[in-house]
Assembly symmetry: C2
Homo-oligomer: 639 residues x 2
């Protein structure tokens, strides 16, 4: 059949030299774990180590971490070595599972969730290699490396297979909560195995009537007198609420004590293990906590999204984690890094969509250059409209990666910088960037993955091509862990108004300074980027002032401007970090250090971003400040 021959030609791994890593046969012999049983399309992902390192060092300010003294072993060589190992694991053990995760997703069979074939083995290797404990302190069994490296891992894992990656990230959040507010006994029972990843963790927040607004949580917890609590209720959208990759799962569950106050101040957090843990650490009886349904989702099929039922038989027991009625407050301990991780999911899945689209655009031949009527058709990469899509994808991936990595470095510096002022400064930046990392990166992941479909033309709409999967997978990231609308409200509320605009203005000043440096550069392209950056940051400044003015007496108007403000902020931040990277690339190129073509491509991408996304930022002030949207009668808005 001509059609399928053609399709196989297009996706023949041997021909995808740009992103191929040598085919499946290569890794099967290198790895201890047996992936031979997994049949899937050839690998189409390579962890972008070069880009990740460049962004960490030249946009995100990773070098500052080496100076804190908090990471004595950290060096450029160690960074390189870790990224290399990370790449090997993700490319060889995880990436080949991606298509399978879509086609053969998690299944609920006789009350047990079965994950995609191969997940269990890949997860075992994850634990053995110590990836789960990368950024946890050594005293908690971790490796004491910066969060920025853990974020790079999240990036690589999500590029390899988003539905596998999400399973590893949630445990990290649960560990942070346990570490912060757990009792010694709780830590002793759970911490080590969760840090290593031998047991996974979940977050149980949502109930049907309590989604974005957790004040309506109804799940109950009743003390039984021996320090334990009887839990009863149902939770929905519980990611990896059950699975077969580990022999225990530690659920963190929001519930109400008897007579707890209404609303958010009456919510407590509980540790509810799937299997009870004896004092000696051995596993005891099965708890009465079960997955009773898996959601059928648009994508991310490999990630089991569970309806969890606690205490159906009246025998679900847990222990209180943290103080009574402080569940929501304690949950916020892990909120910042969880939100950052979701932003990075967007970066990872967008990277994969980009790699696939680039490979296709270099392979697929259609049409000719303008004015050329005959002869061989050219690769569609040669067409300006296709090249624009690829530039857009690359620019958005690079910008969102830079924002998220800078956010992670700020997270680390907020905890490890040498003096209090620097820690506070970093903390303010971390807080400010978090909703932008989460929302901007995931909105842009939707853009990038949709462009990835478009680059493929008709083939993009056909599932076997794989481009559509990335678009379907990516779509959730703008929704969960606080919808992007909620992120925008957080930005204009707690983050902007919380400090009277101080953090935002400090950021604006940094951007302005960088624009000045770029404008003063000798190269015209850098000057051009500097001018665009300057105009965009002026617009952001105007929006910031405008919103702070409105905040005095019109919170509705502030909220109406939240989403375009976050978009504008993200565009400016992206342009800022890419501008920094371009400046560094130009210096290296000038000094003859590094691959000149690679360095020039960084500058070209930064210029493209400036011409298309910084200019977009300029126009957004009008949207930000256009005022509260009147309440039109819905009848008049409908058919």
């Amino acid at each position: 059949m001509r059609r399928s021959e053609d399709a196989s030609r297009l996706f023949d791994n041997d021909k995808q030299t740009v992103i191929g890593t040598g085919g499946r046969a290569g890794f099967a012999t290198q790895e201890r774990h047996d992936f031979a049983a997994i049949r899937g399309p050839p690998m189409t992902f390579k962890t972008p180590i070069r880009d990740m390192r460049f962004v960490l060092q030249h946009a995100a300010g990773f070098d500052a971490l080496e100076k804190t003294g908090a990471y004595p072993e950290l060096s450029d060589d160690l960074l390189e070595a870790i990224l290399e190992e990370m790449g090997k694991y993700c490319d060889q053990a995880v990436a080949p599972l991606n298509e399978m995760s879509d086609q053969n997703g998690a299944k609920l069979e006789n009350g047990v969730v079965r994950t995609t074939p191969g997940f269990k083995e890949a997860y075992a290797q994850y634990i053995e290699s110590g990836w789960g404990s990368l950024a946890f302190p050594e005293e908690a069994g971790g490796q004491g490396l910066p969060q920025a490296l853990a974020v790079a891992l999240v990036d690589a894992l999500n590029g390899a297979c988003m539905s596998f990656a999400i399973g590893t990230t949630l445990t990290t959040g649960a560990v942070k909560a346990l570490k912060a507010v757990g009792t010694d006994e709780q830590k002793q029972l759970y911490l080590e195995k969760m840090v290593s990843g031998e047991w996974t963790g979940t977050m149980n927040l949502t109930e049907p009537q309590a989604g974005s607004d957790l004040s309506a949580v109804r799940t109950k917890a009743e003390p039984v007198g021996d320090g334990r609590y009887k839990i009863s209720g149902q939770k929905i959208y519980i990611t990896y609420g059950d699975h077969d990759m580990t022999d225990n799962i530690i659920h963190l569950v929001l519930a109400r004590l008897p007579d707890a106050p209404e609303g958010t101040s009456g919510i407590s957090m509980f540790i509810v293990p799937k299997v009870h843990v004896n004092e000696d650490g051995s596993l005891g009886a099965r708890n009465d906590a079960h997955c009773i349904k898996l959601e059928e989702k648009m994508g991310l099929h490999g990630s089991p999204t569970c309806v969890m039922s606690y205490g159906d038989n009246g025998e679900c027991y847990g222990t209180l984690l943290g103080a009574e009625n402080k569940g929501l407050k304690n949950m916020f301990i892990m909120m910042n890094s969880a939100r950052l991780d979701v932003g990075v999911q967007g970066v990872g899945v967008a990277e994969r969509a980009y790699q696939r689209a680039l490979a296709y655009a270099l392979e697929r031949k259609q049409g000719r250059a303008p004015g050329v009527k005959s002869g061989e058709m050219v690769a569609i990469y040669e067409h300006q409209d296709v090249r624009r899509m690829l530039y857009s994808m690359k620019a958005l991936v690079d910008a969102s990666r830079a924002i998220c990595y800078a956010n992670a470095v700020a997270y680390d510096l907020a905890r490890t910088a040498n003096d209090e002022e620097k820690r506070q400064e970093a903390k303010a930046l971390e807080e400010l960037l978090t909703p932008i990392s989460k929302a901007w990166s995931t909105d842009r992941a939707n853009d990038v993955t949709s462009l990835g479909v478009q680059v493929h033309g008709g083939m993009g709409y056909v599932e076997e091509t794989g481009a559509a999967q990335h678009m379907r997978d990516a779509r959730i990231a703008a929704i969960y862990e606080g919808t992007n609308g909620i992120q925008a409200m957080d930005l204009v509320g707690r983050k902007l108004q919380g400090d009277g605009g101080a953090a935002a203005r400090a950021f604006v000043q940094n951007v302005r300074d960088e624009a000045g440096i770029l404008k003063a550069a000798k190269r015209e392209d850098l000057q051009h980027i500097g001018q665009r950056l300057n105009a965009a940051v002026d617009a952001l400044d105007a929006s910031t002032d405008g919103l702070l003015g409105l905040a005095k007496d019109d919170q509705e108007a502030v909220l109406a401007g939240a989403v375009p403000y976050l978009k504008q902020f993200g565009n400016v931040a992206g342009g800022y970090y890419l501008g920094r990277a371009a400046m560094a690339a130009a210096l290296s190129a000038h000094e003859g250090v590094g691959d000149k073509d690679y360095l020039e491509s960084r500058i070209a991408i930064a210029k493209f971003f400036a011409d298309n996304y910084l200019t977009e930022a300029e126009g957004l002030t009008a949207s930000v400040l256009s005022g509260a949207l009147p309440r039109l009668d819905p009848e008049k808005l409908s058919a």
Copy 2:
């Protein structure tokens, strides 16, 4: 189970009073056809008759058609009556099939394509009611009504069920080709049954190596001496290439005659019936033309996308349609209206996504107003960020509908206006707007349907909610019938450079005039819209001048600017037509004619569009004119 109870409560049709039409029981008793066997979710669509009529009359200039004399029976009453009937058919017979079309799509069984249960009956009713022949001339068995009404039908049908609707639209294109270049014998054999819809038509263009670039078509046609041609080859992506709704399908197939020149000038078009038709019109032998595979697609599951094989047994016969080697040229006869129809698909599916999201936002309760700490939760429609999404969806639906309808009116006037100058003017507008209707409307349909998912929060990602289906269905429209990149190239190529910018400049002048009228209005909101429109059209003007300047010696730069230019043009056109509608609404409101709240909502939406999309248009000139994108070494762009 609490979860599913909650879900059913949210989608209980009785509660969706805004868009409900009384439930399925109501229509089952009214209609002759039996839809009782079709179980599906309750209806969630109502044809937006009020909006459609308002846009036709006050934005698209429908009234001009009444003055041409070409449609003697046309009147406001007839328009109203037709829209009403259209709405009944679409709401009651088609819309209930939508979810089923996704879950139980077309299947290839033993060489025969089975469509979604209920499609056959709904299609039978389509023929009986005469919907297929609405805009065909009476001498061809049609009803002689304007194309603008046929476009309204396409809008309504696609809102009701996109995968059903596409099956009806393709026949229209085939009829146009047949009417234009068919021989008397061919017309006699096929035309009447195709006009009525008793037989459907297909377009067979694409082959694996010949997608956007048809010069590579390889399918062969050899004359056998009796006026017939033996056809051999395979075609892919053939929409409704086979199905069970009619007893014959008339394929129009692009193929090469022996010794035809290479490239596009060697392509001819052939009529290849699924079942041969005898001279007396009765059906003869089965032709050797078969669907051998259905594509598994991201969405539009109800629409069979076929791999068609012609002459596998050497027995496929067809007749030449039009002159030898003029196949591509003749195909362009139907191109404009086919592209417009695809744009309107975007309008329809976006409308449905909007209606669903609005209903959900009015029903779903979460959170409270700013500063309110306790008490009942409010409908999420009350939150500014959710309201912004709904306003955005509505504004984009209205704007794309207005552009497409104006395009259709131009199509009609180009053929029926009383004097040659007006016909030429209309023709120029039709040509100019066609790529914008197609690409802008479908790009915006992607935006709108994605926002529809977002409004639903986590539920949007769960397939049972239905929001995700619209996003998956809509995604193809930006790809087929010429990708949106190709539309943009058409705009900056044939349309802009073809007449030296005359049509674009005339459009710019019309917009400028309208902006002047709005600015001179007494109402401040209209003045505001006028100012925004003026600034946006200045930017469009600058882009137009800039591109025409670049065209002299840098076609690559023109092509690089094509996509942002089309976006900018669409935003300005949308703002222009919505501005016209707002002006008309203000006049009616001032005169006390019509529903004041409805009229005011038109103005509010136009203002929202101005504040968000006209301002976006302003910033796009920089993107349009930023020059050709350098050919970066792909290695440097990859991991």
